[in-house]
């Protein structure tokens, strides 16, 4: 089955991005596919390569980048939401791309399920 995932909150502040990540891993472990992970609202902050959490904490951003590299997952950051919040190509982490909201709707159409994680 093909899953679409939407992430509406930034890293660390809300558990939403953790839950979305652990859900995404489980989707793959169950043998399903991930059509796309779309980052919206403060969710766009998941994609900043400037993040540097404490040594003993998880690195939420690089965790997404790794997941994308290992499983060829399309990580899309909404351009309008990103510009408002100071995310651009110059601070975008590996594996993410900035695109339009149409990518979210497309994911809703093409995936079998779309799951929203937010506040």
């Amino acid at each position: 089955m093909k899953f679409g995932i939407m992430v509406n909150e930034g890293p660390y502040t809300h558990e939403a991005s953790d839950t979305a990540y652990l859900f995404a891993k489980a989707v793959l472990e169950k043998g399903h596919q991930i059509h796309r992970i779309f980052f919206y609202h403060d969710g766009v902050n998941n994609s900043t390569r400037l993040t540097e959490p404490p040594q003993d904490d998880r690195n939420i951003v690089t965790r997404w980048s790794k997941l994308a590299a290992e499983h060829q997952i399309d990580l899309v950051v909404c351009v309008a939401a990103a510009l408002r919040r100071g995310i651009r190509d110059e601070n975008l982490a590996e594996g993410f791309r900035i695109s339009g909201l149409g990518q979210l709707i497309e994911s809703g159409i093409q995936a079998d399920r779309l799951v929203v994680f937010g506040d």
């Binding site: 509406n8 558990e15 891993k25 472990e29 169950k30 937010g118 506040d119």
Partner: protein
């Protein structure tokens, strides 16, 4: 359909609204701070137990365990891991996250 609730029932109205919306035969999965709605002996326990007559209620065990509530889940609430979460989504036609 599958409903997810991620907020504490003591702080927000989302579990209460979800219980009103969840139709007979549908499922509710409590995640994140929503797992506080799955516990015995609280001010919302009775409301949740009553709903269990018509809908299946699940709770994400990793979130229960993180919060130290391992021994407190209401009998009959099914505890699932992330794999179980994925299965629930797959089994239902659609999902509504009560944000």
């Amino acid at each position: 359909m599958l409903h997810t609730v991620n907020k504490s029932p003591f702080e927000r109205n989302s579990l209460e609204r979800c219980l009103q919306y969840a139709k007979k035969g549908s499922a509710i999965l409590l995640i994140e701070d929503g797992v506080y709605g799955a516990l015995k002996g609280t001010a919302v326990t009775d409301k949740v137990k009553k709903a269990m007559k018509n809908v299946s209620i699940y709770a994400l065990y990793p979130d229960i365990e993180a919060r130290g509530m391992q021994d407190k889940a209401i009998d009959g609430i099914r505890l699932v891991d992330y794999g179980g979460f994925v299965d629930l989504v797959a089994e239902h036609r659609n999902v509504h996250s009560w944000l």
